[in-house]
Every structure is written in C-alpha cells, then in structure tokens.
C-alpha cells in the first residue's frame, strides 16, 4: 500500500485547484436550481438558465467554470493523530498550485502588487494563502481549496465600529456593502460576514464564512437567526442575478464570529460569486486521498 508523502500533498494540492475550477459543489448546484425556481423576472430566469447550462457544459466537457482562476487559498486542518511537518506541507501546497497552473495549463492570476509582473504560476511572495487549524482527534490531513476570483473579492470590505454603534451598525454595514457592490461580484453568491476579533481576524472569519456549504447555519442560534434576517433583507433589495433586477440577490448569508476587545466592534464582508467554488481532500497516513467538497 502507498504511504503518505509530501509529494502526495503536492499532487493533491494540484488536483484540488483543478477540481475546484471545474466541479461545482452539490450544495451550490442545488441552491442555484432552487433559486431559479424562485426567480420571478424573465431576465433573471434567463440568467439562471445560462448559469445552469454553464455548469452542465463544464461537467460534460471537463473545462473551467469561470476564466478567473483566482488566487489559491488552502485551509488546512491537521489532526492530532496524524502529526505532519507544517513547513513541508506549505512548500508542497505552493508547488501544487504552481504545477496546476503550468501543467493543466490555465491562466495564472497572481501578480506583483507594484510592478504588476505576472509570473503565470498563480503563486509568488505570500501566495498561496494558507490558513492552519487543528483537529483534536482526527487521523487525517484535511485540505479545503478555494480559488478566489477578483470580481467578488474586490467588493469585500471591513470596518472597525465602536461598541456604542451596536449590532445595528454591523447589519447596516452588511446591507450597505451589498448595495454598493451591485452587479460586480456576479450575484447571486454567498455573502460571508465576520464579526468580532481584530482587523485581521474579522477578515479571515468572513473568508471562512464563504467557505461553508451554501445555506449552512452558524452553530450559535443568535448568529444563525441574524444570517436568516440578513438573507431576507438582501433578497428584498431586488438586485437579482447579475444585478440586472430580480427576486434572488444572494444564495446565502454566512456568519462566523469571535470574541473581540471591549473597545472594539469589527465587521467584515467577504463576497463570493455564484460559482462558489471549493474542493476538499482528506489525506490519510496510508496514502489514501478522499476528494469531496
């Protein structure tokens, strides 16, 4: 039987990037289909038909759903019963993302922030983005890959409110950010909201929120209720698919939260487009790799 190796992590990182670009998760498909059935305007219905046909074409022809291959983000969870060397995992993820880009091949979207030179590798200084987390019991390495497109990411926003602004400021910020984004983030997608933490943590929480299966709820009933409230509110704006008017403006609102400082009240919105792409792999000590979402 094959054994775990860091080469295998690299191969898996490559495969995950390609799978995420081609295979839309089942929960996203279902949410889009239900949204189509709910949509009442002819323009909106036509757009949903195009969206669903596009997903079908990507499946049948084994091609990319969207040309924006995004920036690669890997959310890694290490299980206590399967300790691995983080430095070697990080190097393997970088190599895997680069190989996916060069060997598939597809457009590399990473670029130097000032010279704008694009190495056509999808990686570079500080990329891929890797978030680490730990699981107390599990005997596997869990890697969730998200290729984050810029149409939606460019519409993201963060603000440090003060405690006196209360929860009303958080809700208003979410609504106003969505209103400001309009048609740019390819709606209807997922609105990820981070609440609490620090400036950096709140942004990360918003990103983790868009990484959840569409329509799942926060474990805390208070925030789960707020998710539903904001979902209803955003859908009543009437932006519709692609912002051309209609009854479905978002597929879901997801909130992730953390404790914050007594003087702080941070909120972040991370916007995800309708192709809410993600791919997951679990790698076991015996070298088995299970792909999923």
């Amino acid at each position: 039987m094959a054994q775990f190796s860091y080469q295998l992590v690299g191969d898996t990182a490559k495969e995950l990037y390609i799978r995420a670009l081609k295979i839309l998760p089942p929960d996203v498909r279902e949410a889009l289909q239900k949204a189509y059935e709910r949509e009442t305007t002819p323009t909106g219905q036509e757009i949903f038909r195009t969206i669903l046909r596009n997903v079908e074409v990507a499946d049948q022809q084994d091609v990319l759903i969207c040309q924006d291959t995004g920036l690669p983000i890997y959310l890694v969870k290490i299980g206590s019963k399967f300790p691995v060397d983080g430095a070697q995992v990080a190097a393997a993820l970088k190599e895997g993302a680069k190989r996916a880009t060069l060997e598939h091949p597809f457009r590399g979207s990473s670029t130097h922030p000032v010279t704008r030179v694009n190495p056509q590798t999808s990686v570079g200084e500080g990329l891929p983005i890797i978030y680490w987390d730990f699981m107390p019991e599990n005997e596997f390495l869990d890697i969730l890959m998200i290729p984050k497109g810029s149409g939606s990411e460019n519409m993201s926003a963060m603000k440090m409110f003060i405690p006196a602004d209360g929860v009303a400021a958080i809700k208003k910020f979410v609504i106003d950010t969505v209103l400001q984004s309009g048609s740019n983030p390819c709606p209807p997608g997922v609105i990820g909201v981070g609440i609490g933490g620090t400036a950096d943590l709140v942004s990360k929480l918003a990103k983790e929120a868009i990484a959840r299966p569409v329509g799942s709820h926060n474990h805390d009933p208070f925030f789960a209720k707020m998710e539903d409230e904001l979902y209803e509110a955003i859908n009543s704006l009437g932006f519709g698919p692609m912002g051309l008017g209609g009854s479905v403006s978002t597929l879901a609102v997801h909130i992730e939260w953390a404790f914050t400082h007594i003087t702080q009240n941070p909120v972040a919105v991370n916007t995800q487009c309708w192709p809410a792409r993600r791919a997951r792999a679990k790698i076991y000590p015996d070298g088995r790799v299970e792909y999923g979402f």
Binding site: I51, V63, I65, R107, G245
Partner: protein
C-alpha cells in the same frame, strides 16, 4: 423585451433599435480587450492594428495557448467593466465601436457616448466562461501578443449569448434603474432589521 440575433459588424440602425432588457445573440467577429489593451490605445496613443468600425468589444482576459502559429482557446470569460469605463467614449467616438460586452456595467460618460454615437452595453452572465468558450468558434488573430493575456483578440463567434441590453442608445441604464429601486426599499429594510435611520 424583444429578442434579436445580430451579425457583426453592427450598424447604427442595429444599435438604435435596441432597448434595455432586450435579449441579443451575436454571430460574426468580436474583439477581446482589457485594461492594458486600452491603456495602450489611449494612454500610449497607439492605434489598434485592425479596424474597429461597427465592432463589438468583449471585456476579457482569455486563457489561450499558442500551438505553432495558431492560438487555441483554453477558457475565455468576461471581466468587470467598471474598471475600463474611461475608455469606452473614445472607442465609440474615435474608432466606431458599437457595442461593449461585459459584466457589471459602466457609468455616465459611457452612457452619454452611447447616446451620442449610437452604442450599447450588452451584459453577459459573468462566471459562465465554459459556455462562452464554446460559443467562440475560433481565435482568428491576436494583435499585440507582447501584452497577452491583455492583448487585442479577434474571435469568431456563433450564437454568442444570451446577452441582455443593459445600457442603450436612448439613455436607459438598467443597473442604475435596479439600484434606484433598491435604494427606495432601504428605509423599510433598515426598519425591519432594527437599524436607526
């Protein structure tokens, strides 16, 4: 809400009959452009090496590969048009471009140019690049290869669409209309969420 199938190049008459919410399917040739393509045309003052009279321009940055002398498509999709707003009036006035295909729409100056010169903005479904790539029959020519993937691309297309007329030559702007409607609903939405106004 009319439905039209149009063949490029477009005439002023083709464009003037269109109104927001009409659905268009295109056949013929379209030109792929992006930020850098237009920075070269307008800021570096280099005329496009091909006539854009009556042209339809697509906001894109395609994944292509070069096999020998030929360019083959990997994935061609559409990018956000808002970033390239300042170039559209020039494309229409100076080079005779009749339509922009993009996502997210453009702003007032582009709308004015569309009214004055007979142009329109056609919204494609963003993110639907698998379908869009299928509707591109061939990459006929790539001009300014040195700035690929932001060069000037000539694509042959068949049944390209559906596209929604989102800005027309009569001053109608679908995105503005939708946003104005949304803003009218805001006070009620704030009230329901317990947000003081």
């Amino acid at each position: 809400m009319a439905t039209y199938t149009l063949t490029t190049p477009l005439t002023e008459e083709d464009v003037r009959k269109l109104h927001v919410r009409d659905t268009i399917t295109l056949n013929g040739t379209i030109f792929g452009i992006r930020d850098l393509t237009q920075i070269r045309i307008f800021d570096q003052k280099m005329d496009p090496p091909v006539s854009l009279q009556g042209a339809v321009c697509l906001h894109t940055a395609p994944s292509l590969k070069k096999v020998g002398d030929r360019w083959e498509k990997i994935c061609v999709g559409t990018t956000t048009s808002g970033r390239m707003d300042r170039f559209t009036p020039g494309l229409m006035e100076k080079y005779g471009v009749r339509a922009i295909i993009g996502k997210g729409g453009q702003y007032q100056a582009s709308l004015e140019a569309m009214k004055k010169f007979g142009g329109c903005y056609l919204a494609i479904v963003g993110g639907a690049a698998a379908l869009e790539t299928n509707q591109i029959v061939e990459v006929e020519k790539v001009y300014w290869e040195d700035i690929h993937p932001e060069a000037l691309y000539q694509f042959k297309v068949k049944d390209f669409g559906p596209l929604t007329v989102a800005m027309d030559s009569h001053g109608q702007h679908l995105y503005y209309e939708v946003k104005t409607q949304a803003e009218k609903k805001l006070p009620e939405i704030y009230r329901r969420l317990g947000i003081p106004v």
